[in-house]
Amino acid sequence: MDTQHHFCRLEQREGRATLFLAGDWRLQQLAEIDAALAAAGMTALPLTLDGAGLTALDTAAALALLRRTAEGGAGIDGLANFNASHTRVIEAVRGRLLDTVSEVRPVHHGPLALIGMHVIDFRGLMEGHLSFFGRSAAALGDVAWRPRTLRLKELTAQFEQTCIKAIPVVVLVTFLIGVVLAYLFGMQAEKYGANILVVDAVAIGTCRELSPIIVAVIVAGRSGAAFTAQLGTMLLTEEIDAIRTLGLSPMQVLVIPRFVALVVALPLLVFVGDISGMAGAMTVANPLLDITPTTFIERVHAELSIDHVWVGLVKAAVFAAFIAIIGCRMGMTVSRDSRSIGINTTSTVVQCIVSVILLDAFFAILFQELGI
């Protein structure tokens, strides 16, 4: 039996038409049913539906039936030989047929409009960060005025998370960077017999540039992302609303401890990174370049001015401030669904890393001009 006649058959007689339905009209056969209806060829005549042969009818099939008959311009005149449950299904779908028509077209924007929208979004983001920074600064001033409002417990907990627990990964990464640098410089310096200059390069390079950047990127990925995820989840579970309702300030309770902890933690981690980076270089300097640890340390003593270390530490504190502000603000601005926590966390990491690099470039120029 071919499928068309299997599902439906149209008979026309004396200005009237009857559509005989048969078989299982179910969602799983929807494609065949729809094809059969299309092939039956609808007329504009008053149409009677005959359901004597129907063994099953679900709403999806009823929808296909009613849409096809409506497309043909036929008015359904009556239902014949339908059992009660099939009639109810037809009526349920018929009552909602209009709701299925309204096609809401998604709006598509041209490239120029997209650029414009991104620029506006970006401006909003920057304004938001700036105002959040202002509020944090005000809250910080408040804490400085009344030190008792500083939440010491939260501060130490955050410090443990952001500093103490980050030490192993910082040590590992900077140590390896030190090793790599010593190799890289060593190969060049050996050509000129200037082995000892490797120590200068590694010491100054690590303390001034590499350790602050590398450690800041690690912390951006570790703590910046954690701040966003923590505060975002607290916002979703209405904990932040509860803090406000209890008459506390989320700034004081959540943001300031994180901010202070990170601004203290990052320079300390950078200092750890300085030592560990130089240790890495020292480890390979002996076998590779015949520089004994004693010579290495003496050379560092003689050549590494304390200014270089300070430059790295000051930069680290500024990086930390940016990471903390971005991380906290992105957490407090998640919209009310779980997806936006993921989006904001990703955005935090990207923003933090980009701002660290931008700040570093700015500092390079600044210190150059200041002659430090």
Binding site: L30, D58, T59, A60, L63, R96, D99, V104
Partner: protein, 252 residues
């Protein structure tokens, strides 16, 4: 496919979490075309039971059949086929937050049914209309919907594949009484007009009295009453009596 099998058969289910026994021999059968309510105090294992019936959580012992298929001994293929024949509405909707309502409802259709492309949109909107959501809700994200609308959107998604059985976990919790009654009418419509079998877990006395054909009462791991609500409320059990007593007090 066993067309004559009852919708749900639960046979001496025992569930233990460590030392704690949640179900201690729970049995009941739900024939097709009924709205059955499962009630019981908090922690009496109602939601656990539903999760076991739909195959999310394995009971310690006992047998569960849905539409004739044994949920815990069926092969992966049989289970996949069965999953298309029932729908589940989780307590807070469990809508995919990255998709619009329309896309949420379309997901099962795209994955499991061969719907002609020109019918997909209308079919999705029919589901949304059947669940009683306004058309504008179709393009919204779940986060933009109220609690009641999220539940309706979840029903629309559960209805996508024309299920024969629908499980509702606390469908009216967190809704105002007016929205809750509208929800009750929706459930009744699904059962009466579309012929679905509905198993719902509820605390809501009004939906219980208003729409449920039969109530199953769980207490201390056992079914202590099973039957029409009028009979169930006469059962001599302290918890059940205080449960219905609240109602009698209100009505004076």
């Amino acid at each position: 496919m066993n067309a004559a099998a009852p919708a749900i058969e639960v046979d001496s289910i025992v569930t233990r979490f460590g030392e704690q026994t949640v179900h201690d021999g729970v049995s009941f059968t739900v024939p097709r075309g009924q709205v059955v309510g499962v009630i019981g105090g908090s922690g009496s294992g109602k939601s656990v039971l539903v999760r076991e019936i739909i195959g999310l959580l394995q009971p310690t012992s006992g047998r569960i059949r849905v539409l004739g298929t044994d949920v815990w001994s069926a092969s992966e293929e049989e289970m996949a086929a069965l999953r298309q024949r029932f729908g589940m509405m989780f307590q807070d909707g469990a809508l995919f937050s990255s998709l619009t309502v329309e896309q949420n409802v379309a997901t099962p259709l795209i994955e499991h049914a061969r719907v002609p492309p020109h019918l997909l949109g209308p079919l999705v909107r029919l589901r949304i209309a059947l669940a009683g959501l306004p058309t504008e809700a179709a393009t919204k994200m779940p986060s933009e919907l109220s609690g009641g609308m999220r539940k309706r959107a979840a029903i629309a998604r559960a209805l996508a594949l024309e299920p024969e059985v629908l499980f509702l976990d606390e469908p009216t919790s967190g809704l105002d009484p007016i929205t809750a009654r509208a929800f009750d009418r929706l459930v009744r419509f699904l059962c009466d007009d579309l012929g679905l079998t509905v198993l719902l877990v509820t605390h809501d006395l009004d939906s219980l009295l208003g729409i449920v054909d039969r109530a199953i009462v769980l207490s201390y791991g056992k079914v202590i009453a099973d039957g029409p609500v009028k009979e169930v409320c006469r059962v001599d059990d302290p918890w059940l009596q205080s449960y219905f007593h609240v109602r009698r007090m209100l009505e004076g």
